[in-house]
């Protein structure tokens, strides 16, 4: 029989990635899949900061969580940011700082400006210490 392919690169393709029915483990942020309700932004913020994917090694889960957080942060009005930051406790502020810096890593058109506004408010709540904790954290968000 003749070989019908010259190369065997097809063997290196991971077909499970392209399977439409692939099982994706829902870790967190599942409650917020449809985007934040306009009315309940505070609740959305609390929900999206609950259960951060710190312990998973799965990069997809981390990316999805980050995307959700970014969506929630961008839908806040500039004047409401301060109140939202006040409603978080110390660990919440530290976690918010982690997401802000993660968001800085991949800037899109609008995200940097919004993130900078959040950064200023989070800095006044958490102080330089919260930034140090982002830099020294062993498990990233």
């Amino acid at each position: 029989m003749s070989k019908n392919t010259v190369s065997d690169r097809f063997r290196k393709v991971d077909i499970d990635e392209y399977d439409e029915n692939k099982f994706v483990d829902e870790e967190d942020g599942g409650e917020n899949q449809l985007g934040p309700d306009e009315g309940n932004l505070m609740g959305a913020l609390q929900a999206v900061l609950k259960n951060p994917p710190i312990n998973t090694k799965n990069q997809n889960v981390k990316d999805r969580a980050e995307g959700l957080v970014l969506k929630v942060l961008s839908s806040f009005k500039a004047s409401d940011i301060e109140k939202a930051v006040q409603s978080l406790d110390k660990t919440g502020v530290d976690l918010l700082m982690k997401y802000i810096y993660k968001g800085f890593e991949k800037p899109t058109d609008n995200s940097s400006a919004i993130l900078l506004q959040w950064h200023e408010k989070a800095l006044s709540a958490g102080g330089v210490g919260s930034i140090v904790r982002v830099l020294t954290a062993r498990k990233t968000v």
Partner: protein
């Protein structure tokens, strides 16, 4: 509170003699300089030159008047005063990386050296051979030991390390001492046994300190946290994330209060409440110089808004007493139980002496419990 500027180089480490009339400092080089206090001035009395590398730790034993120094040349020397000259004795530590910190034990018959070779060398003097011998504590240390402190019972040793943990080891040497009595940290203490290992904080542990009774240990770590652990059947650990830059050194001034200082250039007070196992921020211990408030011109305001997107001006000049990070803090009198004065040295080459009573009266809300 007084500040004395020794030199412009950072003071890497310092140690006081028993009556606090002499201070041994290392100005970031291979030598130790001993200064004597004469009136209000500090006069250089001795220069100890034996090390081949930067000196990273000095400790002065108050009773036996011996100085131990350790450096990046992987050696430690014990200096004894013969007449008017300090004579060094080499101690072979058997390490293959720099030594980082050294402390005499409370009874001054042993000293411990923390090093970058991921071990602690506990050295004691062997009478028959007239030689300092050392034993190593290796497990389970995974990285450089940055700081050490002895428990008052002369056996337990707290070590802070770059593997993000603070541990309490037993450094019981049967050749020089009796079996120790049980403590809050445990009763079986063979050499090298880990009596306590911290969890919870992440970040290199820069400074560690036992309280005066030895039942509590506090450590400052690089993720801007301070933590206190209380020994007992189960060790209770509480930590406080601070809003400042990381702290480099910490010490107890009473059984319940800690003073810590670090990259923010001013000492800070923390109060530990054992009933609720809570650590709280007590206050900033620095008397700011009253700088003249200049009004901001409209041009300055616009420039600030343009460059930093903020309307208020941050002072470019540090208002604290020290102008650079504080690297070491030591108790001058009162001991760790009722400290009356403590001293800080830093990377600005300055040494400041702080009086607890005047600080208490100067800061209105300060409560030293």
């Amino acid at each position: 509170m007084s500040l004395h500027q020794f030199l412009l180089e950072p003071i890497t480490c310092h140690a006081w003699n028993r009556d606090r009339t002499q201070i041994a400092i290392s100005p970031n080089n291979h030598e130790v300089h001993i200064y004597k206090k004469s009136g209000n001035q500090w006069v250089k009395a001795h220069e100890l030159k034996e090390h081949n590398g930067h000196i990273t730790g000095i400790d002065w034993a108050p009773e036996s008047n011996r100085i131990v120094t350790c450096g990046t040349d992987r050696n430690a020397y014990v200096w004894t005063l013969k007449g008017d000259v300090w004579k060094p004795t080499l101690v072979i530590l058997r390490i293959n990386r720099a030594a980082r910190c050294v402390t005499w034990s409370p009874k001054e018959n042993k000293f411990a050296v923390g090093s970058g070779s991921r071990l602690i060398s506990v050295c004691y003097f062997e009478q028959e051979n007239d030689w300092w011998v050392c034993k190593h504590i290796k497990k389970p240390i995974r990285s450089t030991i940055l700081c050490l402190d002895w428990h008052p019972n002369n056996v337990l040793l707290a070590a802070g390390s770059c593997d993000f943990k603070c541990r309490i080891f037993s450094a019981y040497i049967k050749e020089v001492e009796e079996k120790p009595a049980p403590t809050a940290w445990g009763s079986k203490m063979p050499f090298g046994e880990v009596m306590f290992e911290s969890t919870g904080t992440s970040g290199w542990v820069h400074g560690v300190c036992f309280s005066d009774s030895g039942n509590r240990v506090a450590w400052a770590s690089h993720d801007s946290t301070v933590a206190v652990a209380e020994g007992g059947k189960t060790a209770v650990c509480t930590s406080l994330s601070s809003e400042t830059l990381p702290l480099l050194c910490v010490t107890f001034i009473t059984e319940n209060s800690l003073v810590a200082a670090g990259h923010d250039c001013y000492p800070v007070l923390f109060v530990y409440d054992s009933n609720n196992a809570a650590l709280s921020f007590g206050g900033k211990l620095d008397v700011p110089k009253q700088s003249a408030q200049k009004g901001m011109t409209a041009r300055e305001r616009f420039q600030n808004l343009d460059k930093k997107a903020s309307v208020d001006s941050k002072e470019a000049v540090l208002e604290s007493v020290h102008k650079n990070s504080i690297s070491q803090i030591s108790i001058l009198n009162g001991g760790k139980a009722k400290c009356a004065k403590f001293c800080t040295t830093g990377m600005d080459g300055g040494m400041a002496i702080w009086d607890v009573k005047t600080l208490e009266s100067a800061m209105k809300d300060l409560k030293i419990v």
